[in-house]
């Protein structure tokens, strides 16, 4: 089963006003490893047309990318109250 199908099973309360994680495109542009694209379990980080593409909407809030990025590009905060991933089982 593809990761996209697995993510499609999840419930989110998406905050369209506030991205709880942001990346600095300038840093990502010159990044030699893009380890985020391998580490993130929700495939939020992808290389599209040679450029890093990040979308916070699929984030499961594990915090891995903040550790994975050793170049200081990721700014990580918790989503605002009650927003974001909503597991049914956990």
């Amino acid at each position: 089963m593809e990761i996209e199908e697995k993510l499609a099973l999840l419930n989110y309360k998406t905050d369209n006003q506030y991205a709880h994680i942001t990346v600095n495109p300038k840093i990502c542009e010159t990044c030699p490893d893009h380890f985020c694209t391998f580490a993130c379990p929700a495939s939020c980080y992808k290389i599209i047309d040679g450029k890093l593409n990040f979308k916070y909407e699929d984030c499961v809030e594990c915090g891995t990318c903040d550790i994975a990025c050793s170049h200081g590009s990721v700014t990580w905060t918790n989503p605002k109250g009650g927003q974001g991933i909503k597991y049914k089982f956990g």
């Binding site: 089963m1 099973l9 499961v60 594990c62 905060t77 009650g82 089982f89 956990g90």
Partner: protein
Amino acid sequence: MSEFDAIVVGAGPAGSSAAIKMANAGLKVLLVERGDPPGTKNVSGGILWGKDLSQIIPDWEKTAPLERFVERKVTSFLTADSEISIDFKTLKFSTDRTGYAVLRTRLDQYLSKKASQAGATVITGITVDSLHMENGKVLGVVNEEDTITSDCVILAEGANPRVAIKAGLRQPPGDDDVALGIKQVYKLPEATINERYNLRGNAGFAGEYVLSFLEDDVYAGGFLYTNKDSISAGVVVSLSKLRENGKTRSFDIMEKFVSHPFISRLLEGGQIQEYSAHLVYEGGYSTMAKLYGNGYMIAGDAAGFSFSNGMVIEGMNYAIASGIMAGEAAIQAKKEGDFSDQSLSRYGRMLEESYAIKDKKTFRGIEKVTWSPLVHRIIPRIAENSMMKLFNETGEPKDHVVRILLDSAFDQGISKSDLLIQGYRLMRRM
């Protein structure tokens, strides 16, 4: 004058346990949880070991939403073609229950309800952004524009402790401090589970696997736990090894585990209900920060309390135990009207005396073993090779078992003395 005696950040097992303990003693407690309802942000590694909950909820084994008790415990090496296991099951566990499979949305809602019944004020769907501090003393919590004051704050925010990190009370974790856990829940009928895993009634199966079949130098462990009518299957991936590898994606390792021929048949016919991910603390005693100070204490995963020696993965029990101790320290501090670093050092001393820290000390350096080539590559190959020689009738005269083991090691390019030294180190740390 503070609004609360104590504010607890996070309604997981650590936070709710602390809140129950304090509220039972008459303290004015606020329990704040960003998930709504509690548990919806959380992922359990599967099994709640031990009986720490008895201290605050005497009848928890009858009233908590427990899935199944562990009757059968399997520890396995998985190679591409083989599985070599210790498969332990005992009827003794039906009378002396040591572990239960749990799902966190159910467990955490139960625990937070207990905190509410004990008299704590529970608010959900509220994210604590930072601590309200003055001159190094914690005086409350901040949510957007609002500040709520308290004599002390217990940080029980889990494995990704943003508030503690932001306040400089914890170092951000690195590759060697944490591993990445990924889990899938599969729906399966109760009867199918019982038949497939050789279980009856509410007895359950807990399996931990070394995934030595993974290509390159990616190291990961796997787990499989039976719930009432679902299976939790997951992997724990070493971030430092994944970084070194630089070409494998974490979520592909999950797929490789559940596609292994001996795992896939245990999940066959099961519908995936949920995919989830969470950090798992791996760092040993040396990486543990100071867990208290002026007006604050840190408990549970936020304090780095989880443990694995390759045979069991534990975390929720330490969370509950440390939460109760933090609660106890706050109760004493309230009696003395003193929430200073000096007073809350009582929490540090209680931890030192508890199994939570003693385990950390006993197994100091265990992560060097659980993530070693010996465990992830060498032993599985030797074991597989030896078994093949033992069971393969070729018409040639047989060797002694020890000879076969040593020859198999030699086939892997390991000398007898090297094997003895590495084996000794392994035994000493485990």
